[in-house]
Structures are given as C-alpha cells and as structure tokens.
C-alpha cells in the first residue's frame, strides 16, 4: 500500500539508497547499542520460551522424549480441561464487564462535579497488589455472615423478608413420642382430651432460646380439652435427666406452634406458653399433634460464594473491582480527545443523551475500547494470583485456570513436561491477541 502510494506520487525526495539510516548511524554502531537489550531479551525471554518448548516434548523426569504426550494430556486431563473451560469464561466476561463498567464510569464522571475524586476512588484498587486483593476478597466472600461482608449483606436483606425461627436445631431425644415429617415433627399416636401430651425435644442452644422462656411444667389434665407441654428435655451436665418429664432446671419452648392434624387437615392450632404448656379445644381430640417445620427453620446462611458453582464468577467479580478503574482511566483519556463539537452538534440536532452516548461517543471511542479489551484479555489469560488465593482448597479445582494448573503441575505434582506444554499452549493463545494489539498500535502511529 505504501509502495503503491509512493509510485503514484510525483517525484519527491529520493528513496534512501545507502544503508545508512536517516541519522547516518552505521550498522555496527547500531548493533552495539542494541546488543545489551538483545542479550537481556534473549536470556530472559527468548531462551526460556525456547527451552519451555523443548521441555514440553520430554517426560516428567526430563530424560526421555515424550513426543506429543504432554500435549495430548492437555485435552484429556480433567483438571486441565476445567482450567481451559474456566479460562474461556474469564476471557469472555472479565474484560467485557471491566470495560463496560469503565466506560460507564468514565462517561458519568465527565459530568459530575467531583469527577476527579470519584475517578481516584475507582482507580484506587489498582494500587493494591493482586495478592492483597485476593486476601481481601477471600474475607469478603467468607461464608460466615459475621466475617464475610458479601454474605452479611445478603443475609441481612434476606432476613428482613423471612425471619428465622427460634428452635433451629431442636430434635426428638431418645424414646421420643415424636417422629420427623416434612421438616417438622408429629406424634406417633393420636392424642385425647383429658390426657396431657408430652412433646419433649432436645438440641436448642440455651443462648438461642427465645426471650420469655420459663421453667417447664407438666401440663394438667383438663376435661374436654387437649392439654400438653413442649419443652427442652435436657439438663445441663446431666443429659436428659428424667426422660419424658420436665426436670426442675428444664425450660419450656415459649412460642412453639402446635397444630392438631386429622386426616391431613389442621383442625386446631395454638402456641405454647412461656412454661411450654398449651391447650387445644375439644376438636383436637383424636388428632395427631404436629410441630410444623416453621418452628425449626435454620437461620439463613447466605450464599455459598466460594462453593463450586459460584467460585469463578465470584473471583471474576474481584478482578473487575481491580481493573474497572484501569479501564476507566484509559477510556476517560480517550474521551478527552473526542471533539466536543460533535457531541454538541448531535444534541443540537435533538438527540437524546442515550442516543449521543450510543451513536456518537461509543463509536468515537471504539479504538480505545478495543485496546482496553485486548489489553485486559492478555492480562486475564495469565490470571493466577486471585484464583490461587481466593479459592479455598475444596473448590480450587472448580476455579482452576491454565496459569494455576501450570503452577500445580510444575511445582506441586512434579510434572514439568505437562507444565511446559501448558505454557506453550498459553503462549499460542496470547499470540493472536498480541498480534492484534501490535497491528492496532502500528496503525495508530501511522495515523
């Protein structure tokens, strides 16, 4: 293209004939100056790449030629395949989400008064090392809502809508008249008026018992009514004490719901008093008593952020937290170069802000966006530290990425051959993206 243009052009300055460059430096001098850089580059970049390539064709101990065995392991080994799959997820989502967020931040900060301060805050995570960010997010995603802020928020929101119950771990003790049914408990036999029913349970932590509990007392028989008591049949230090009857220090289950069930239908229901006693009308005669599951609902424990299903999205979230700021700064710089007149012209022509953003700002920013996405892609392909630190041992395999698998194969399992093959494979993945970036850069310079 360049030569065609030169041929078509009128005879301008003659093409340089001699081997001397514009500044007149000799080749040897140039070589001399290039030498230190070349030596360093050769020793630190080219040689390791070459050696990895060679090593990837040898077996684990390095003394036997293995052909393509290591490469075939890339596609047969389960954990490498998981890593590969996760890498795809990473490459697709992490750069796009970071860039999208960066774009939104950049465009919005243009228009607010404290834009610079806001940018500073968003960019700040970039100043933190990957390792520190990993440790921070390990805590953020902690399962225990008292420690992990993500679950603290989630549980807080959940509990505003759905209360947990007072007796989460209550269960029948030995020789209990109760059997489990649908998460609750039901008496084995039907109850009858005038014969007090006992519904003893065990297993509620004393500090979790609701306020207003009193010492449990045995219910008195009342003619024409079904009476009974439900209480914690457990004495500290003595086990159950007297089985099936309230001991002096045992407390009633205040507020426990009790339903009388006949043929699957609730005929009467009540709540236990502070001392655990309750009374049901005569209609409950002959019914079975049920302690419905609502009494025993476990406290909501939040989301299993670092469990096998969510671990990769969770780690990508922490990556976005770090790199959205980077994207924002680059895009904001690009935005500064966008001619204001175009935006103004669009507005004058009656475009809405959304149209201005979609039809003018984004197309003008496209080159910058591409550079940001591609840079982040290269960055994401080698992601290691975040995954290594955030994923707990039990889900490390589910969160695996190629760089981590490389480390595990090479340094923990003593499989340098396969590790080298992974590194070569990673290099192959990076090359097209790199080539794209370099070409872009060249074009940019030419412009």
């Amino acid at each position: 293209m360049a030569s065609a243009a030169a041929a078509g052009a009128p005879p301008g300055p003659a093409a340089p004939r001699s081997r001397k460059s514009v500044t007149g430096t000799r080749k040897t001098v140039a070589a001399l100056f290039l030498l230190p850089a070349l030596v360093l580059l050769g020793a630190l970049v080219v040689y390791p790449i070459g050696y990895s390539l060679v090593r990837s064709f040898y077996n684990a101990s390095g003394d036997g030629f293995a052909g393509f065995d290591n490469y075939s392991a890339l596609f047969t080994d389960d954990s490498i395949r998981t890593a590969l799959k996760n890498n795809v997820v990473w490459v697709v989502f992490a750069p796009t989400v970071s860039t999208a967020l960066g774009l939104v931040f950049a465009v919005l900060t243009e228009r607010v008064r404290w834009g610079t301060a806001f940018k500073l805050v968003v960019f700040m995570p970039m100043a933190i090392s990957m390792l520190a960010a990993g440790i921070i997010f390990r805590l953020v995603y902690d399962q225990d809502p008292d420690k992990g802020v993500a679950n603290a928020v989630w549980v807080g929101v959940h509990d505003t809508f759905a209360q947990s119950s007072a007796f989460p771990k209550a269960h029948p003790g030995r020789e209990s008249p109760l059997v489990a049914e649908d998460g609750g408990f039901v008496t084995k036999a039907a109850v009858h008026a005038g014969q007090p029913v006992t519904l003893p349970l065990v297993g509620v932590a004393p500090d979790q018992l609701p306020d207003g509990v009193k010492k449990a007392v045995a219910a008195r028989p009342e003619p024409g009514k079904v009476t009974g008591s439900t209480w914690q049949d457990f004495t500290r230090g003595k086990g159950v004490g007297k089985l099936g009857a309230p001991d002096p220090s045992e407390v009633g289950y205040a507020g426990m719901r009790i339903e009388a069930v006949k043929d699957g239908e609730v005929v009467a229901s009540t709540e236990a008093a502070g001392d655990g006693t309750f009374t049901l009308p005569a209609s409950a005669d002959g019914a079975r008593l049920r302690l419905p599951a609502g009494n025993f609902k476990e406290p909501y424990n939040g989301v299993d952020w670092l469990g096998p299903a969510l671990v990769t999205p969770a780690i990508i979230g922490s990556y976005v937290w770090m790199w959205a700021g980077f994207a924002m700064v680059l895009i904001a710089a690009g935005l500064a170069g966008v001619p204001r007149e175009l935006l103004e012209a669009a507005r004058v022509d009656g475009a809405t802000e959304w149209q201005v953003f979609r039809k003018v700002t984004v197309p003008l920013l496209a080159p910058v966006l591409a550079v940001v996405v591609v840079t982040l892609m290269i960055n994401v392909l080698k992601v290691f530290d975040l995954v290594f630190i955030i994923a707990p041992g039990s889900s490390q395999d589910d969160a695996n990425v190629l760089a981590l698998e490389l480390y595990r194969k090479g340094f923990a399992e003593g499989q340098p051959g396969i590790a080298s093959a992974i590194s070569v494979f990673l290099l192959l993945l990076v090359i097209p993206v790199m080539a794209f970036n370099i070409r872009r850069l060249r074009r940019e310079v030419r412009r």
Partner: protein
C-alpha cells in the same frame, strides 16, 4: 556442581587455617581435631550430663533446611545452638518451602545443597535416595538410633535396607480434641470406641452444640480422618497394602471405612456449618471455633494431631483444662495410632553432618525441644517428664507405648500427586465425599482412578 561447592569449602578452610596461624595458634588445629571430645561438651550440658559424645568440629559450617516457621523454628534453633556449643561447628538454619523435595531439587541444581534436610514424608526420603541426593547414616548415628528408637521408627527411615533418615520429630495424628465445658454440660464422657464416640456426639448434639468441626477446605485433615478409621477397622496389614496401592481403593475394606466415616460426615447437624460450611473451613479455624464462644462454641470436638495445641494457643482456652484430648477411639479391635514425622537426612556427607545426625538421634537434642513445648519425639529415651504439661505427656506416652504398632500417615507415603496436592487426588476425592457422603461407591471409583494414575507414573 558438587565439586564447585567443595572447592568453595576447602577454600574457606584454608582461610580459616590462615587466620588461626596468624593468631599464632598451633598448626595442629588445622589437621581437624579428631579425638578431643570432652571439654566443649561438658560445660554446656546443663543440669544433666550429655548422653552422646560428639567430635570437635571447630571451623566446620553446616546448613540445615526445614519447612518449620515461627515458634517451631525458634525452638529448633535452640537445639542447633546446643550442637554449636558442644562441637564448635557453625550451623545455619535454611528456611524451606513445601514441598521441600522441590525446594531441595532447585538447591541441588544450583550446586548449593544444604548439608542436612528435614523431610516430612517417607516418600520424600525415597525420592531423595533415588535421585542420589541422600547419603547413608554413619556408624555413630546408627549406634545412637539403635539405642533410642524402636524398630518401627528406624525402619521408616530406611530405603532398601539402608538407613538414610533419622526421625527427629513425630506427630501423633490419632487424637480428638474436645471442649471440656461442652462435654461436661452435655454429660458426655471420653469415648473409647467408635460407638461411644457416636453416643457422645449425640449427647453433645442434644445439648445444643454441634459435635464436630471438620477442616474440609484443607484436604489433609480429611485423609487423616479416613486413615484412622481404616487402620483401626481393616488392620495394619491392609493399611500397608493400601498405602502401597497393592490393593485397590475399590476394595470392600475401603467401602466399610467410608461407610463408617459417613456416620459422622453424613449428618449435616453433626458438622459445624454442615457439609458445605466444612468445605470452607480451614484447619486453624476448625480448631479455634471449637475453643472459642464460651458455653456455645460452634463445635465440641475437632480431630487432628498433637499440633492442634499450637492453634489452641491462639484462643483463650487452656490445654489440659478447657481443651482436653482423647485418643482416636477404636473402630475395630484396636485403637489406631497414625503418626507423622520429620526425618533428618544428610545431603552432603561430612564428619560434621554425621555428628549433627548423631546429635539429633540422641535424647539430648530431643529433650531440649520437648521442654520448649509443641514438639513430640519418637525417641523412647526422652523422659516423659521433659514435656511441659500433662496433655503432652499423655500424647507422648501414647506414641511411645504403641511401639511398632503405629502406622505412618498414608497420604504422606503416597505419591505427591495423589496424597499431597491441594484440590487433587485423595484430598479432592475426600472433599467430594464430604460434600456427598452417600456416594461411597462413586468416591471409591474416583479414589482408585486418581491413585492408579499417580502410582502408575511413580509421582
């Protein structure tokens, strides 16, 4: 590579001699003081006289590599200081990283191996011997070993009948630690059998406390759980066969052990946080959550070895009063004793290195560290009274009493890819089993598949 380092050493020896000459000292000092064994050792021996005689090694320099950190490292350095006092040699501690065998590999490739390394797995000793790194223990060391160690502890330091490793430190991995207050409240007693353990767990559960804390985020506590049950249930012979992968993981004995294990792991309410919570509980947390929270800790018991004490130290609980321990109950006829340990291995043979090995095999060295706490010696001549508290004395006694009936941690004997890699092999498979304890056959199949792959290529 080795020659390079040895020229370096001779060079230094020459300089030392020159310095001595300049100091107008007798030339004989240079011709390495062979036979004066007395004077230096005597004055630093402390209250008890030294039981081992060491050569004088003025001017010698040793490097010792181990993965220990923190208090453990500080305590071990005190033992090395005693060796320096007695012999006049200079010993430097080189902190290493796990897996130490890879660390040593890079050191050896670099031509600077440490003189002595402490290897935590029998598999690592074997590897070191196969690669030609390890040097056999000399006559002095062998004599000391024979005097102080039971046959079993000597044998696991042997490769092909030759003694390479001297077990300096042991771990008793058949212990269950419990919160004494919770047991008291629940009216539970220290169980002797697996059935008792289940009864005690139920009593604890009835009292409103979750019985167990299982560190499922780390894989190794899970393998240790399995090993104790398997050793007690299937017996030592089967244990050895499985450790060498002579029987398959699909064996009925494995099925039985996993089924037994599921009696605890399979009950959501028996595990602090349930199965999912356990899988995100790391080992230190599993200990601290058992011993914090007053009357209502998150769990009542935590299984692991004697080193649990270190983590209990991070809480306010006191070992012996708030935190107590009982041996892992017998699942089969006998209670299991699963142990671990670190063996000292010579990587660069010299008189000084041999002397250090001899010293580490002696009760003198072990007693020093035993007094400092957090340490257990397989040396049967270390007085039980040397341990600082009753709990440690109990653990030490149990270990020595097991004589040759103990078995070394199975996952430590397995190739690293199977028994020692986070998120892989046995660690991962048992984590999956903890997640889904109903699927015994599936867990066995996965274990066998991973084991076959790992043992097949020799790790």
């Amino acid at each position: 590579m080795r020659s390079k380092s040895s020229t370096f050493r001779t060079h230094r020896a020459v300089t030392t001699c020159a310095a001595l000459l300049a100091g107008a000292l007798a030339l004989s000092a240079c011709s390495s003081g062979d036979n004066d064994k007395k004077d230096n050792g005597e004055k630093s021996g402390g209250t008890t006289g030294p039981s081992v005689t060491l050569p004088k090694l003025n001017g010698a320099h040793l490097e010792v590599a181990a993965v220990w950190t923190g208090g453990e490292q500080a305590n071990f350095k005190k033992v090395l200081a005693e060796f320096e006092n007695r012999t006049g040699a200079k010993v430097t501690f080189v902190p290493a990283q796990d897996p130490i065998i890879n660390f040593l590999g890079s050191k050896i490739a670099g031509g600077q191996p440490p003189d002595v390394a402490l290897l935590p797995q029998p598999g690592a000793i074997k590897q070191a011997v196969q690669k030609g790194w390890a040097k056999p223990v000399g006559a002095e060391g062998l004599k000391e070993l024979a005097k102080n160690y039971s046959q079993g502890w000597q044998d696991i330091g042997k490769v092909d009948g030759k003694q390479y490793g001297v077990y300096y430190k042991a771990a008793n991995k058949s212990l269950i630690w419990y919160n004494a207050k919770v047991f008291e409240n629940a009216g539970a007693k220290e169980p002797k059998t697996w059935q008792d353990l289940l009864t005690a767990s139920q009593a604890v559960y009835d009292s409103g406390v979750t019985p167990f804390s299982v560190a499922g985020a780390d894989g190794w506590p899970l393998t240790d759980w399995f090993e104790n049950i398997y050793l007690s249930q299937a017996g030592p012979e089967k244990y050895d066969q499985l450790a060498q992968h002579k029987i398959k993981w699909t064996d009925p004995s494995v099925k039985q052990a996993l089924t037994t294990l599921a009696q605890v792991w399979g009950k959501k309410d028996y595990l602090a946080g349930g199965q999912d919570g356990s899988l995100q509980t790391e080992f230190p947390q599993s200990v601290t959550q058992t011993f914090t929270g007053g009357d209502q800790p998150k769990s009542a018991m935590v299984y692991e070895g004697d080193f649990v004490q270190v983590n209990i130290g991070e809480t306010k609980a006191k070992v012996g009063t708030d935190a107590k321990v009982f041996p892992f109950p017998a699942v089969g006829s006998d209670a299991p004793v699963v142990s671990g340990g670190d063996a000292a291995v010579i990587l660069k043979d010299s008189k000084a290195a041999q002397a250090l090995i001899t010293f580490l095999a002696s009760p003198d060295a072990a007693t020093i560290q035993a007094k400092l706490g957090g340490y257990l010696s397989p040396n049967k001549n270390v007085p039980v009274s040397a341990y600082p508290n009753a709990v440690q004395q109990k653990i030490a006694k149990a270990l020595i009493a097991s004589g040759d009936d103990f078995r070394f941690d199975m996952s430590d004997q397995a190739p690293q890819a199977f028994g020692g890699t986070p998120g892989k092999g046995e660690w991962k498979d048992l984590q999956d089993f903890l997640k889904n304890p109903k699927d015994v056959a599936g867990a066995q199949a996965k274990l066998e598949k991973d084991a076959a792959a790992a043992y097949g290529n020799g790790g």
